[in-house]
Symmetry: C2
Subunit: 302 residues, 2 copies
């Protein structure tokens, strides 16, 4: 039997994964305050390197209060920003058996949601994908697509297995992790360094950052602190993970981080999710993180 | 008998101190590549809160090679920038008995000059003054005027005493220090924090910096590292010097640092003098300075 998913945060990422679930028969409900008419009328044009298609949601709603259906899953794929009250939004629509799939960047970002909805299954997910919304109802999927996810609170293993099977059937690469916290710290090693540095070093892409030895040293020092924090959070990595991250970044095409794109477009940046929560964790454990805290102070002031 | 001074770096500060020496009978030679005609013709109009006057230099030269006179003092009052070859400039005009008065910001900025001219008297000076050049031949002296200076290499005590007496006669406040290195570190506690922070925290004046607790903590952490470096350089300060600096800054009118003014005007900043030399000193002693080195990496990339 198909399951019903509600997407809260129908940007490029949430819409794309919804569209793939729709391809294997699931029923996707899109919440869109501004573009519900055009989406309901024409669906989404998905341009994808895996093949183009049209995605017609099961339902498009303008207001969460309009939802009359019982939903099996909520996909949370907003940015993590202080003025987006995710818990409040979920509260309007969640039912006893609804599972929550959080596809967001950052560390410890599940906590608020898991604290409030402690008897609902929480699935924590990281997207490794190049995808952007090019028009209100047009998504461009340029590269990758892997979703790494894991059980956050062990409430309902059937839900997570169902989700995993659907995504796999759709042809996407998935990685079901038994330690999603470790995967988040691992991704943060890169994100916690290159995202803020791309902004504070004068709006530089990854290659421009790596042209300067002082900047490379700074990136490594930040990464070292993140590895140290991860260790205190029970997550250990191989010794050469920092050098590997730098080397892999050198081999990448020049890349503008999401923080830099947000900064240049005058949009709020995901500061708390990507650095603030790590700083908070360090404070709670009385750990010294001079590099991260300096970067945090600077980016919070921009 | 009057003495001859050559000003290398005839901006607001050098010209102002030259004009005061001229008032007590010394002969001031101005080197100006771009404005020598108007200065020779009309002199400088000095608007000063101590009383306005006209300053007619003894001589104005367009090219250092034109100088035929033996000079007693060279006042070096350029900015400290990598592409200003002070040693090369001094070499063109210095004589056996010429004393060099360095009126510049920063730490360890005398070294290059003292190494090269090791048998000339070096006087190291810090200006506490609000003065700006408002036109090619117009200087506006808004506030203060104190010059703190000291013997750098103990070659010629007569020269330094002559200079001190002349300035004192002119009505300026002077402070002849027996430990000018300590005075430089002391000034750097403030400059090394507020100058770069005013730039990297998104172009903020002193009050705007002090509105944010993360920024205050960061300023204090940087100051702590400077105090630590000073200690390793043989200079000790009272325990509450950092709190005093923050408090004094809170009481000041909102103030834009010289680095911020340079940055906003797209002029090169005095990065090496104000931070780079401190970082270099830390490296030479294998001292850890995560806050300063982070700020240094960032400002070097802007």
């Amino acid at each position: 039997m198909p399951k019903k998913y509600l997407i809260i945060g129908a940007g490029a990422i949430g819409t794309f994964y919804g569209s793939k679930l729709s391809q294997v028969g699931d029923q996707i409900i899109i919440w869109s305050r501004n573009d519900s008419e055009i989406i309901a009328k024409n669906g989404y044009k998905i341009k994808s390197y895996m093949g183009d298609y049209v995605f017609n949601p099961y339902l498009v709603i303008k207001n969460l209060h309009d939802l009359r259906e019982d939903i099996d899953f909520i996909i949370v794929s907003t940015k993590v920003l202080p003025d987006i009250d995710i818990v409040g939004l979920i509260s309007k629509v969640i039912k006893k058996n609804t599972a929550i799939i959080i596809i967001q960047n950052g560390i410890h970002i599940e906590k608020n949601i898991a604290d409030k909805f402690s008897s609902n299954q929480i699935i924590s997910a990281l997207a490794f994908i190049g995808v952007s919304r090019t028009n209100p109802n047009e998504i461009n999927h340029q590269e990758y697509g892997k979703l790494i996810f894991g059980n956050y609170n062990n409430i309902d293993s059937i839900a997570i297995n169902y989700f995993a099977n659907s995504l796999e059937k759709s042809g996407l690469e998935i990685l079901l992790s038994s330690n999603i916290l470790s995967e988040r710290w691992k991704k943060l090693i890169w994100n916690g360094a290159f995202n803020p540095l791309s902004v504070v070093l004068g709006k530089k892409n990854t290659q421009q950052i790596l042209e300067n030895n002082l900047a490379i040293d700074l990136a490594k020092n930040i990464m070292q602190e993140i590895v140290m924090l991860a260790k205190h959070d029970g997550c250990k990595f191989e010794n050469d993970i920092i050098d590997k991250n730098i080397l892999a970044t050198k081999k990448m095409l020049p890349y503008k981080t999401s923080m830099l794109l947000d900064f240049e477009a005058n949009r709020p940046m995901e500061i708390q999710a990507i650095i603030g929560n790590a700083v908070k964790f360090a404070q709670s454990k009385s750990l010294s993180i001079p590099y991260l805290s300096t970067i945090y102070a600077i980016i919070s002031n921009l």
